[in-house]
Amino acid sequence: MTTQTSQPAAVAAGRDIRRVPGIGGLALGCAAAVLILLWVGSDGYKQTLVTSAATYALIALGMYVPYLMAGSLSMAYSAYAGIGGYAVGLVSAKTGLPLAVAWLVGPIVAALLAVLLGLVTRRLSGFFLAAVTLLFGMAFTAFLIDAEALSGGSGGLGNLRPLNLFGWTPSHYQMVLGSAVVVCVIAFLLDRLRLSPWGVIVRTMRDAPRAVEAAGVRVPVLNLVALALGAAIAAVGGGLFTYSAGSITPDTFTLNIVFLAIFMPLIGGAGTPWGAVAGAVIAVELTLNFPAIETSGTLLLALGVLVIMLVAPRGVVGYADKLRTRGWALLRKEPDRG
């Protein structure tokens, strides 16, 4: 399920175009993003879909480092995205600072909280870690409802100020464009990170923690860094979503989103961060933009995940990669090595 399938793809593309690892994924991702943005045009509803997809993608990308690279399933990401969202709400409602500050403060606070939670749960893994982090997500929602003075209670925070970047206020469409760019950039950087020496250590840690520890790497520290990085990315997504929606309540980021975010890399393909992005797009398409069987889109997604897990454990990207290899092999009239 977690084998690297697209590494040959990235390497092959790099040899053909330029020797930059991960450039192939970036090119494909950008092409897909342009196509989606062209499809969206000025349709307000479709723009909302893209923002949702970008948010889902960022939460899934945030989970990518700890969950698929380091192999520990932390499920507190509703809280991290919520922190990013509430940072936007609070900076807008309680301070006179420029709104852009929220995207600095939110990720930092989320990362600090992730480190704290990571320290408390550093000896846990598997089912125990999942249970504690789920409870943490629930407790965070309860806290948001209780702390009315800070978070506005169950009504949440609304009436956000418009974003102002050095006198320039981006329009709604420009925000949609911006979130697509942020997703592409972060996915590309994570792909590079996965292929970097640091990424290789983290991935080895998943499979053989004792060997990594014996080699002189501090596994707990590495785990904390992975968690903090993931939390910060998820907080960026939460902030983007809150800004586009114009308000945030304790129910904005539910545990449902965390479950969806676990499944997105499985749908898309766990081999590369772009798989998480592809999974996010498919998830949004199924859950939000499926008029024929509106109520059962999520059910379809859940069943689809089970089927994918059993039949095509490498996900959509892995499957496409296999097809591509087969196609090339046919074209070159070489024996199929895929």
Partner: protein
């Protein structure tokens, strides 16, 4: 903490959590992992019963029997269709099984929401006699049934695991899948029996607990976590340990909100989880093995 009515409520809650924990325990003993879909099984039992009674005017007993059968089917499907293939492919790694179980949990929730609708349905009481008054305490028939069935299922499980052939096989398979397979024991059949029994216990718990606060398709996740916590707090050293863990959580769930306000039990659960997972992850009751 002198209000006896609250104590009764806590005991009832504890029995419910205890039964969920028993379902966890059965699968843990037989298959060596925690099946997070226990909560959704219980939700399925409660919600399916209510839905059949409300929509089709079915009697409570046939409705409950159908719901239990459906839940047992789901539990068997979880093992045969998802857990077994995934574990076979991943070779015993914990993460793939965990993700698979999370997917099952999510899928059952969505399935229940799609079939039975998303609003909360009132639970159906299996017992119809008048409330019994003991001193100052009024015991609702549903509470009496919940406590009675919980004690009975724990007693039966204890006897079953200790004294019957299948029960001993269950422990042998759970201790080491490979050794059991080498000895020629029917590993797959025993695991399936564990899942079916767990599904049965969970469905029963859901049906009996539903009258207390109603049930909706999203109840399952919180129940999963409570049951898991109960089995971790109690430990897996004895069949009765999950009941003890459940009782402890029942006290937390009832008395914390009473003294500290509405959401206190959520914080309490997190606190207990952190406390136990950090300092006593093996639980209170541990089977001691002579060295």
């Amino acid at each position: 903490m002198t209000d006896l009515q609250l104590w009764l409520s806590a005991v009832e809650m504890g029995c419910f959590f205890g039964m969920l924990a028993l379902a966890y325990y059965l699968i843990h003993v037989g298959a060596g992992f925690f099946n997070f879909a226990i909560g959704p099984y219980a939700m399925m039992g409660g919600l399916c019963t209510s839905w059949l009674v409300i929509t089709y005017d079915l009697g409570v007993w046939p409705a409950a029997a159908t719901a239990v059968a459906v839940t047992i089917g789901l539990a068997a499907l979880t093992e045969l269709g998802v857990v077994r293939p995934v574990q076979k492919r991943s070779g015993g790694g914990e993460l793939p099984a965990l993700v698979a179980v999370a997917a099952v949990l999510f899928a059952i929730q969505q399935l229940a929401g799609y079939v039975f609708g998303y609003p909360t349905l009132p639970g159906q009481s299996l017992a119809t006699f008048d409330p019994v008054t003991v001193g100052e305490v009024t015991v609702q028939p549903s509470s009496l049934l919940m406590i009675g069935v919980a004690l009975l299922s724990f007693a039966l499980s204890a006897v079953w695991i200790r004294s019957t052939r299948t029960g001993r096989l269950l422990r042998a398979v759970g201790d080491s899948n490979r050794a059991a397979a080498l000895l020629g024991l029917p590993v797959n059949r025993i695991r399936l029996i564990a899942f079916v029994l767990a599904g049965f216990v969970a469905a029963l718990a859901g049906i009996l607990f539903a009258p207390k606060a109603g049930v909706n398709s999203l109840s399952g996740l919180a129940w999963s976590l409570s049951g898991f916590l109960a089995v971790v707090v109690g430990g897996t050293g004895s069949v009765w340990a999950p009941l003890f863990g459940g009782m402890l959580l029942g006290l937390v769930e009832v008395f914390l909100p009473y003294y500290f306000g509405g959401q206190a039990h959520v914080y309490g659960m997190l606190f207990i989880a952190l406390l136990f997972f950090a300092f006593k992850p093996q639980g209170l009751f541990v089977r001691t093995v002579r060295a």
